[in-house]
Amino acid sequence: MLGILNTMWVTFRHAFRRRVTVLYPERKRRLPARWRGRIVLTRDPDGEERCVACYLCSSVCPVACIALQAAIDEKGRRKPDFFRINFSRCIYCGLCEEACPTFAIQLTPDYEMAEYDRNNLVYEKEDLLISGTGKYPGYNFYRVSGMEISGKGKGEAENERPPVDVRSLLP
């Protein structure tokens, strides 16, 4: 009997505690930087697209919401011809970001993507591309990889040595 009254008293005291609800449209929670929200395509510090159209994100995607087509541009670099993410399917798992070898695809702390028309949730490359470098400022894939592109030969990148002459016996 006293237990019942005590239960009621405890419940009553909870009426004066701070509310746990966040009144959403008026107040917004501060999201951590690694929040997995809207997906973006970033650019390297030179302003070029980072994406090299390797299809890794598209093949790792568990719901198959990423579609792209590779192409080679005038500099000889691989670029996506189109890059399409269907956000009505996306589960924001972040596997694409983990798979990406060039840090091109990144998830951002933005979740306010509601649309009235379902077709508006299909984002094309121009919707996905941002002008900045996202989470990895200063990283440029072609400056650290061994790839030969116009303006940079093999072994000329940062932290790289010239390629080994396989025909020489000298170490």
Partner: protein, 318 residues
């Protein structure tokens, strides 16, 4: 002529007021449960979310008026009406203020008990006519619970009746001008309060609906308008029981300074809040625990209360 006009105004005023208070209670309960659970509750529609009830009602009334094909159609349709009629009819005898009283029956208490027994038919018929196992289980439980709790619901009131010497609710209120009945009849108040919880099938006594066991109990097959009748009927029932407790134990409209109507509504409001606090705080015991609690504890307690009150009244009268 003017007497009839006033009577009609009072009747419709009480009817309308009861429904409005019941509708307000739906919103109030949701807000207050939220407060007890450290949330906000519905606060979007209108100021403080008061228009939420209107939104809910519009939604529920525009739903398809579906009758299960396996149901006993006539009874299925009548059952929700019975609960509304019986609970709303009980408001006729409640003296809300000295001038606001639909009918000053000299057997007001008995009339109230009869009407609350009448509500059992609604629940029993709803479960039976639905022709589905969960509905039937729910209504079996409801009938078992309500019939056994009605026994000492009536007995707990007899102490008040003995003290006052009248079954008329107006006389009972007027007899409490010195001391509220809750002081000499505290046991009666506790027993009546618990029985009232059981009669309205509120949370510690909600085994007829028991959503974790029986889907929704006796109104599993109901939807739309007919479900709304059960839903509003429950809140009309809460309002009714709270008003009855105020009338019988807390001096009805009586109180200093403020006008009688305000006092009555204020006391009702506090009791409704208590009902909601109990819902927020207490879990639901097992069915056999309910019945043994009723028959083995509440019934002897109310009989003892009645015997002691009778003895004292007799001694004073000598």
């Amino acid at each position: 002529m003017s007497g009839i006009a006033i009577a009609i105004i009072v009747i419709f005023g009480v009817l309308f007021g009861a429904l409005m208070i019941a509708a307000g209670t739906i919103w109030y309960e949701r807000r207050l449960l939220g407060v007890f659970q450290e949330r906000y509750g519905p606060n979007r529609a209108g100021p403080f979310g008061v228009l939420q009830v209107i939104a809910d009602m519009l939604k529920i009334f525009t739903k398809e008026n579906w009758i299960a094909p396996f149901a006993d159609k006539a009874i299925f349709v009548i059952a929700p009406g019975i609960i509304m009629i019986s609970t709303l009819a009980s408001f006729a005898v409640i003296p809300i203020a000295p001038a606001i009283l639909v009918s000053d029956l000299d057997i007001g208490v008995l009339y109230f008990l009869a009407m609350s027994s009448f509500a059992v038919y609604s629940v029993a018929l709803a479960g039976w006519s639905s022709n589905s196992k969960y509905s039937l289980l729910g209504s079996i439980r409801a009938v078992g619970q309500m019939v056994s709790y009605e026994v000492f619901m009536g007995l707990s009131l007899m102490g008040v009746v003995l003290q006052t010497g009248s079954f008329s609710l107006r006389d009972i209120v007027e007899a409490q001008s010195g001391l509220w009945n809750v002081v000499p009849q505290f046991v009666g108040f506790v027993v009546f309060f618990i029985a009232g919880l059981a009669e309205t099938r509120r949370i510690p006594f909600d085994i007829p609906e028991a959503e974790s066991e029986l889907v929704a109990g006796y109104h599993t097959e109901y939807s739309g308008f007919k479900f709304a009748m059960f839903y509003i009927g429950e809140y009309v029932g809460i309002t009714l029981i709270s008003m009855m407790i105020v009338t019988l134990f807390f001096g009805g409209w009586q109180g200093p300074v403020l006008p009688p109507l305000v006092w009555f509504l204020l006391k009702t409001f506090i009791l409704v809040s208590l009902f909601i606090l109990i819902r927020a705080a207490l879990p639901r015991p097992r069915y056999d625990q309910h019945l043994s609690f009723g028959w083995k504890l509440m019934l002897p307690l109310s009989l003892l209360n009645l015997a002691v009150t009778g003895g004292i009244v007799l001694a004073v009268a000598r």
